[in-house]
Amino acid sequence: MWRLLGQIRQLVKTHAFRLASLYFAVFAVSVLGVLLSVYLISADFVERQTQATLEAEIAGLAEQYAQRGISGLVQIIAARSAGDRGDGVLYLVTNADGHPLAGNITGWPEGTPVSPGPVSFRVAMKDQGVTRTHPAQGALIVIPEGYRLLVARDISDAALYRQRIKMTLVWSGLVALVAGLFGGAVMSRNLLRRVEQVNRTAERVMGGNLADRVPLKGTRDEFDQLAANLNNMLDQIERLMAGMREVSDNIAHDLRTPLARLRARLELSLIANQNTNGQNTNGAEDGAQTEAVRAAIDEADRLLATFNALLNIAEAESGARRNQAEPLDLAQTVRSAAELYEPVAEEKGCALKLDVEPGIMIRGDRHLLSQAVANLLDNALKYGGGEVRLSAHQQDGRAALEVSDMGPGIPEEEREAVFDRFVRLEPSRSTPGNGLGLSLVRAVARLHNGTVALGDNQPGLKVRLEFAAL
């Protein structure tokens, strides 16, 4: 119930709903206006027609009276009243006492005042053997000498006609309103759907799927243009991101060789130095210069390691190693990585807990998967701590691997960013590391058509990798 209300509130907030409501309101007002004027005009027309008939009748009778006096008038009325002429005109001539002299109304209608002017009354009519009272409208004329002439018209047909028009208009109005409501809903739904498509694509792109695009309908309408423009923009963003990555990869590639040479020269000078000084390899009495050379070599090694890591990621991302996938036991891979890190955990005072289901077969590259697990363990021990859990399970055709720690975790809004190259959450960057560990993990996950997600371990970080099981 509350959910439904919530959904309705959500719907009311959308632009599409407001647009549909506006559309419906304008539509309803114009349809009602048109129908109302049609009704008024046709009602007026019927009224005028009745009036015109009466006037013509009265004019004719007045002429007769002028020529032949009251007897002539009575005669002509008697003649006209004989038989049903079907035009619904009613006549009655009475003397001053109200006694009828001629006419097709049997008596003076009850309740009708005896004063000249327009009158309306009800008259009993025999219609196919059934007596009904019909409404009538007409005029009372008082002729000199007290004679009275009542000329009226049975307006039941007109009333019926008006009633019919009213019903027709009400029904067509209802149909038009329902159609309008439906049209508005369909219109807004289509609008909503296309906006929603754009929204969903944007969300997926923000979620890291840079290759996703807004579907085009091929109608070349405004929405298609918007979609095409958005897609172009996404293409550009993707190109820029790829370009940035390429630049860092190229730097890594191009600087690796000179850096390696630099390192080689330093190393050779060290060897030459050792040989001339005849020192042993323990280097207990190294001079300050040798020490400096050693430090420089260490720096070069760190740089080379970073470059190698970058190139490794680039290689995994390019998918060039996809063909090296072979059936392997993920449980075995996980166990052996854990075994490699177990002493490190012990040294750091962390408990490394294993929860691995035996025999989880997947297709993959053992070396890359091992490195990914090693990176995750490395991170968990370096930045997390507490109890580090490593679990691997198989469920519904999926192999899932989880590494969780009890450290500070990663705030939700930064969980996507940490997969990017060189992103480190520590502002001081005091812990050794290059910010490439998770980038490799993601590249490896993608290479295996798997997923990687960061979650909350409450407290700490939980990293979950998923692959298709064999």
Binding site: N282, D301, V344, N375, D378, N434
Partner: protein
């Protein structure tokens, strides 16, 4: 000891020749695959270091031809390509070890020395000895002096590798490759932690330490000098 270096990149070749000569080896050098094959065919070298990509003849093809001629000189392949697939191809073509450029000279030297020893050892041994340390490969037991040392399976493998290369430097990468079969560099120095654990068991209660750290290179198991 006489080595052959087949490398077309002059900078790398000069670096190799200089470094190896400084380390006491006699070095011949060639920048061409065909010439390299011709030189190696004499069979007078103790080890060959060859690049994968060579003008004239591909490094792997050269190695294949050499092995076809029943010349089993231990050889180490240098390559710019780092993927495991290339490593497997190189080893399948008859290479004994594989090193990705750029490499540290100490790494190359340690590997060459290991190759030379492998060529010399030959006979299968069931017991390895270094000073008063004895490792029995059949019973998988370790003794130092009179006391038995309990080792976990991985520690046993680690010690075995160190003892097989006793007196020589083994690098962290070599240990990672041979003991764990991992071909990547972990960010943390995991090997150091494993070694220090092994030291606790092998060296702690004894006067003379056997496992030594070699700065800028790796580790070495030997009786103190």
């Amino acid at each position: 000891m006489k080595l052959l270096v087949v490398e077309d990149d002059r900078e790398t070749a000069a670096y190799l020749v200089k470094g190896l000569s400084e380390s006491g080896y006699t070095v011949d050098q060639s920048g061409d695959g065909r010439e390299g094959l011709y030189l190696a065919s004499s069979g007078s070298y103790d080890a060959i270091i060859l690049d994968r990509m060579l003008p004239g003849m591909d490094g792997l093809a050269m190695l294949g031809a050499l092995r076809a001629a029943k010349i089993g000189t231990p050889s180490l392949i240098l390559s710019a390509l780092g993927s495991v697939d290339d490593r497997v191809k190189g080893l399948r073509a008859g290479g004994d070890d594989y090193l990705v450029k750029p490499f540290a000279f100490s790494e190359l030297l340690a590997r060459i020395e290991a190759l030379l020893r492998r060529g010399a050892a030959g006979a299968t041994t069931t017991k390895l000895r270094a000073a008063d340390l004895e490792l029995d490969l059949l019973t998988r037991s370790v003794k130092r002096g009179d006391s038995v040392i309990d080792l976990l399976p991985r520690e046993f493998q680690l010690l075995e590798y160190l003892m097989r290369n006793a007196g020589h430097v083994v690098t962290r990468t070599m240990l990672l490759e041979h003991v764990w079969d991992y071909h990547f560099d972990p960010q943390t120095n995991v090997i150091d932690v494993h070694i220090s654990r092994l030291r606790q068991k092998v060296d702690r209660n004894f006067d003379k330490p056997l496992i030594h750290t070699v700065r800028g290179a790796g580790y070495c198991l030997r009786a103190a000098d």
